[in-house]
Symmetry: C2
Subunit: 206 residues, 2 copies
DNA sequence: AATATTGGAGAGTTGCACTATCCAAGCGAG
DNA sequence: CTCGCTTGGATAGTGCAACTCTCCAATATT
């Protein structure tokens, strides 16, 4: 298919497709002459992935680029791609305080979680704890541990459902599920808050 | 205190404080003449809240404004503020497909969750389900329901810990916890993925 | 042969979140 | 009292990200 059909099939304007090509988010089509190139299904899939990461995952294009590069890199293992995807998803953060870093380290030790010392997630969690304290409502240690146990339960249900029969499929599933399940979880939590809040109101009224 | 001290105490540059004043994110100080005004602790708190919402919650200033307006509105109930805060946090989304809307409605009916028909969360969840399908990895119905049950458990633990003795405190807690706990949950999930992935690797190697 | 379309390159546009520059009014030291 | 510094407020400018527009020569299509 030509670029105009690729644009129609993916819902991305032609000018934007050209921009993504320039930015290296989308591989070039197969040239059939100096002014023509054909694109395939993989280009449609890639465009849909990009739009999903941007629109729903809220990623910036520089982050999307890092993710698709990891996806395309045949030498990286599934575990590597998970790390790269997570690093790409984490914006640059200011240094957290030593106290919150220590809290994070202590939590992971107590739970016996194997998390790399270099993991961006350690910094991200420490910063998030700082932010709550700065906002005047620090998170209690027992609440943090409850959250951690709950999410371990989730992750244990999620990881085995990855289809590892093909690297290509496994990598795409890992990225999609890491990024696109997040808004689902957050929305379900907000709905649950609405529900519990509504329920307690009606109970109080009785 | 004057503006320069407010700036120093909150870590926000003077020029930015002026900008927030113009944008209505920060209430004006008490004028002590034509070219002087004094600010109080509530201005420091407000600035810290704004920075936390922007830096950690990832909100845009227009969204922050809607949140602080709801916080300042004395007539709105706690449940109202929850709704406004959630609406402010949800960016404008394209219409979801009828299928995913129906899935959301069916889920909420099956779980007997009381969620307003107008809630932005219904649209947000439907859109997120569409995004997964568009990306080629639709979410299974049983997985969605598992997520919902898990998050209901979380919410039931969270809501009763809100300090409802003062409206002011309750509202700030609600907003802070809605927004700032989200990155904590996402980071813990990613860490749990890292842990589970690492654990299954080492088990395979045995 | 005439017309339309395409891929590519570069410049231009939009929106957001600041940031810098002015300026008149006031306060404080000498 | 005067001189210089600081302050709050208004206005304009900056930097970045993500497009979007315009142009062009090479090709298809009719």
């Amino acid at each position: 298919m030509w670029m105009s059909e690729l644009s129609a099939r993916s819902g991305v304007p032609v000018a934007t497709v050209k921009y993504y090509l320039r930015e290296g988010l989308l591989p070039a089509g197969q040239a059939t002459g100096a002014t023509r190139a054909v694109y395939g299904e993989e280009h449609v899939r890639r465009l849909r992935l990009i739009r999903a990461l941007v629109d729903v995952g809220g990623l910036r294009l520089a982050e999307v680029r890092r993710v698709v590069e990891a996806v395309d890199d045949e030498t990286s293992s599934l575990h590597d791609v998970l790390g790269v995807a997570q690093a790409a998803l984490t914006p640059d953060l200011p240094e957290p305080t030593a106290e919150s870093r220590a809290r994070v380290d202590a939590l992971l030790r107590r739970l016996r979680w194997k998390v790399s010392d270099q993991s961006v997630n350690r910094v991200a969690l420490a910063r998030a704890l700082d932010a709550m304290a700065d906002a005047g409502d620090p998170l209690r240690a027992d609440a943090l541990e409850d959250y951690a146990r709950t999410l371990l339960g989730l992750a244990e249900a999620e990881v085995p459902t990855i289809d590892t029969s093909s690297r290509e499929v496994a990598v795409r599933q890992t990225v999609v599920r890491t990024v696109l399940v997040e808004p689902i979880l957050l929305t379900l939590r907000r709905m649950a808050h609405e529900h519990v809040s509504q329920r307690s109101l009606s109970r109080r009224r009785r």
